[in-house]
């Protein structure tokens, strides 16, 4: 069961590369039964990972101009449905 869930494939989407975007992110809060939201703004590199089957796509966002206070990295992996391209009204 877990192997089907965890297989990951890396890729590159030129359509997404270089686009400025926002990520309505967040996740589970370790040690609790709660979750928290985290918001990011940055540039998509176009790199992605498709995890599992059905594929669950994650895009890499760098050059973060907005991130949670104290966020430790200059990049974040964003779940594809939580990415909103700036200037794209349809998103």
């Amino acid at each position: 069961m877990v192997s089907r869930a965890t297989a990951a494939r890396e890729g590159f989407d030129p359509e997404m590369a270089g686009k400025r975007a926002e990520c309505d992110g967040g996740g589970h809060i370790a040690g609790t039964r709660f979750a928290g939201r985290q918001e990011f703004t940055g540039t998509l590199t176009g790199e992605f990972v498709d995890q599992g089957d059905p594929p669950w796509r994650w895009y890499l966002m760098v050059d973060l101009t907005r991130k949670p206070e104290g966020y430790p990295a200059d990049a974040v992996w964003c779940e594809s449905e939580s990415v909103f391209i700036l200037g794209d009204e349809s998103s």
């Binding site: 877990v2 869930a5 309505d24 995890q51 949670p68």
Partner: protein, 366 residues
């Protein structure tokens, strides 16, 4: 007035009597609400796949074929590998010292055992997938995603007859999920317990309703009375998602001391802060939240490292049942939770209050 103003499309979709959804971490509460004609979603984010399967069986054995839901936290972003581990060793001394001062000032006892956080590896994509697969295998009636988008699992869920609900804090999140075919959207306002978006319930619910078409919208955040239920229906919602309401119910497994704190609390007794976990969440105020809100407090660390600082306090308070220190996630509607009642009674009171409010409204208008 309609024959039954509480009969909504959510009731028809789920085959339930009342458009009331209890979000709870307690199986007994879930079963009581379901058997009273409402619907319950059990929060299982902290559970292993085996535990989730066992809980599903436990519930199914007690509800005579009625529907129920399971809520998981589907992550929406993760930091690059290694970044957090690096930070682990870099918790500033100023923060450790501030936490130590709180411990000394309030005589916070040491936890009785290892801090749970240090034994729990956190929830990553792999764990989330493993949890989701249990829900698919078990064909639970409703899969609710408590944070991230469930769209990637939508087709697999629908193939198995599973309805998928998404919880959102912004209208654009709802729009995307509606377009993808999610079965219902929970529009959660700032009043809610735990993590919330920045919009108030009275703003986000009608805004999401306006873009949702026929997809049922469920109002969340501050819903603790039948008047809230009636108001939510007036806003266009097809039901309500309630959490705080059940914490102090008779069936709830929340510590009795915390139940008493909840019953005594007013809407002003909650704190919306990131000082417990590094992510903003609404909880009952406690010395930890009050100290970190002072101007001289250090800047809060990101998740999960703020939790490393707070977990000693939280677990020490809970292990020793220190009423003055304990806290719990609670929404701003907590002021209406004033008596400890059976969950079944809470459902019926909500219904009675809502019907009265609707009748008064109709009478006043007429």
């Amino acid at each position: 007035m309609a024959e039954d103003p509480l009969r909504t499309k959510l009731c028809d979709m789920l085959g339930i009597e009342f458009p009331i959804i209890a979000f709870t971490h307690c199986k007994d509460v879930a079963v009581a609400v379901i058997n009273a004609g409402g619907f319950a979603v059990l929060g299982e984010a902290m559970h292993t796949p085996d535990e989730i399967a066992a809980d599903i069986k436990w519930i199914r054995d007690r509800i005579d074929g009625k529907p129920f839901g399971i809520d998981l936290v589907v992550p929406a972003s993760v930091p690059p590998a290694g970044a957090l581990e690096e930070l682990m060793s870099k918790i500033p001394d100023t923060h450790r010292e501030f936490a130590r001062q709180i411990k000394e000032k309030y005589d916070v006892p040491d936890p009785k055992g290892p801090v749970a956080l240090h034994q729990w590896g956190g929830l990553n994509q792999e764990m989330a997938r493993a949890q989701l697969e249990v829900l698919l295998d078990e064909r639970v009636p409703v899969l609710a995603s408590g944070l991230g988008s469930p769209v990637f699992i939508l087709e697999a869920a629908h193939e198995r007859g599973i309805k998928v609900f998404g919880l959102v804090g912004k209208t654009r999140q709802a729009k995307r999920q509606v377009e993808a075919g999610v079965d219902a959207i929970i529009a959660q306002g700032y009043d809610a317990a735990g993590h919330t978006g920045a919009m108030g319930t009275f703003s986000i619910v009608p805004e999401v309703v306006s873009i949702a078409g026929d997809t049922p919208i469920i109002a969340a955040g501050g819903v603790t009375t039948g008047r809230h239920l009636a108001a939510a229906l007036c806003l266009g919602a097809a039901g309500v998602w309630t959490g705080t309401l059940w914490l102090a119910s008779r069936e709830s497994d929340v510590d009795m001391i915390v139940k008493e704190k909840l019953l005594a609390a007013t809407g002003d007794d909650t704190s919306y802060s990131n000082c417990i976990s590094g992510m903003t969440m609404r909880t009952l105020k406690c010395p930890w939240t009050e100290e970190w809100s002072r101007p001289e407090a250090p800047t809060v660390l990101p998740a999960p490292y703020q939790m490393l600082l707070s977990s000693d306090y939280i677990q020490g308070a809970n292990d020793h049942r220190r009423e003055d220190l304990m806290t719990e996630a609670a929404g701003q509607g907590v002021g209406f939770v004033t008596t400890m009642k059976p969950a079944r009674q809470i459902v019926f009171d909500l219904v009675d209050e809502a019907l009265t409010a609707i009748e008064e409204l109709a009478g006043g208008v007429g």
